[in-house]
Symmetry: C2
Subunit: 265 residues, 2 copies
């Protein structure tokens, strides 16, 4: 199973939108995909059309160890399974603070699962707190969605430092795999400037022995497309809402890239 | 002094951009304005052109009570003063957890100040944690920037509940005053739908005895405008970067609205 955490402490860059639509595209390709909502806002759960307030067993129950993963997941679409979030998740971070091995609670729950999946995606909150650390400890790959704006780049260093620390102290297989450009508008010079900045940074660290040495910018950028912002209000993936729009095309190609390791023609 | 906290736990909706540019517009109108960076990302500090890593005394030192407010603020523009954030602020939330009266530390520091300001704006992180509670305890008015997207509305209820709790238990003068529509595009039906949703909600609670009973949507919406995203990379306000663009016009009008209580002609 490929385990991927989608993380960026900068808010509103496209984390939830990317998890929903990448996972849906992979599920449509026949892959069995599990997505975990690790954000107390519960936007992944809501985006997929579920009522966060009605969820009894979800991510919080799994982290509090009052329920196992297998009994808590719901099949939200064919081949697509969700561990939903509810409002209780907001208390998990402070409750975990004094638990021994607090960073690996989620990993333990995933490792104990008897289910077979091809992919796991974890949607994180815009923070580098204990919940996000649990995600980093539980996966092998990190995908960092970035909005091509100046402020969107500022937290990059801190994010990579945190990933490096988790790699050194908790999870030696953790690697930054992809940087995903979201809300990209190639008519704007800002978009290509930010892209060039990231490329330059990655080139300068290619040989270094660090957790992001092999990271690449995904060759597919997700263009800004209002349909991606409309789909969640119907609880739909972009493929269900408008399967031929730019958003659907971009996420389908991005999923192929993730799956085959490169852009297929 | 009017004290305004700019809050929304949804990430990337325009909190920092609004604090910088509203404050700059009011300062240009001759008002003496203090802005406080309460987000460990330090984006307010960076947007105004300061290096967060070089800040010795900032918000963290004030919260840790190792420095007073007056000695920690810097005059960043004429009439515009900043209490900057540095990387240490990320530790403040967990350090404050066991402090007696942990929610009113910031309020105490502001009340102890000998300086005279006309306006105080507090830029908050995308969370409802202890730092944000400190902001809510220290101000009288709340401004909620909203991106006119479905996911942007989801946390609204939780945000209002938190404000109501602070109003009941810690700060009885706390009121939601303005909802500011950011990144607004009036060609998109989603924008007007979300605006209508908010208007309907506010109308239904007009007479209720709650902290948001008197809230209104600011009559000026801030249109989506890439120059607002370019300005921070030069450490400039929108007025310094391009004083005649839509972004500058909208924030100038919005500031007039805040100051005069209604749209001036
Ligand atoms: N490519 C796109 N084009 C247009 N709108 C988009 C795009 N991707 C995401 N959006 C919208 O932008 C907003 C932010 O996206 P999203 O909520 O996925 O970001 P996030 O990083 O998960 O936010 P948070 O930090 O709050 O978790 C949402 O309203 C979403 O619908
Ligand atoms: N009206 C606008 N038009 C275009 N871009 C904008 C507009 N307002 C803000 N932006 C850009 O959108 C991004 C998000 O805005 P900003 O950082 O101010 O939001 P925030 O709510 O403070 O985010 P966070 O939750 O991470 O603190 C930034 O890159 C900013 O430059
Ligand atoms: Mg999200
Ligand atoms: Mg901000």
């Amino acid at each position: 199973m490929r385990r991927i955490a989608v993380i960026n402490q900068k808010g509103g860059v496209g984390k939830t939108t990317s998890v929903v639509n990448m996972a849906a595209a992979l599920a449509a390709m026949g892959q069995k995909v599990l997505v975990i909502d690790l954000d107390p806002q519960g936007h992944l759960t809501i985006h997929l059309g579920h009522d966060a307030e009605k969820i009894e067993k979800g991510t919080y129950a799994v982290l509090a160890q009052s329920a196992g993963l297998d009994e808590s997941i719901i099949e939200t679409r064919p081949n697509l399974f969700l561990l939903p979030a509810n409002i209780h998740l907001v208390g998990a971070e402070s409750e975990l603070v004094s638990v021994v091995g607090r960073e690996i609670i989620l990993k333990e729950a995933i490792d104990a699962s008897q289910r077979q999946f091809d992919y796991l995606f974890v949607d994180c909150a815009p923070s580098l707190g204990l919940l996000t650390l649990n995600a980093l400890a539980a996966v092998d790959e990190v995908m960092i969605p970035v909005q091509p704006h100046f402020l969107g780049l500022q937290g990059f260093g801190k994010l990579l430092q945190t990933i490096e620390l988790v790699n050194k102290r908790i999870n030696t297989s953790l690697k930054v795999r992809w940087i995903l450009l979201c809300m990209y508008d190639n008519r704007l010079s800002l978009s290509s400037e930010v892209k060039a900045d990231i490329e330059q940074f990655l080139a300068s660290t290619k040989d270094a022995n660090c957790a992001w040495a092999g990271a690449q910018i995904l060759p597919v950028a997700v263009r800004r497309n209002i349909k991606l912002a409309e789909a969640p209000s119907y609880g739909k993936t972009i493929f269900e809402y408008d399967g031929s729009c730019n958003g659907a095309q971009d996420y389908r190609k991005a999923a192929e890239c993730i799956h085959y390791g490169k852009l297929s023609n």
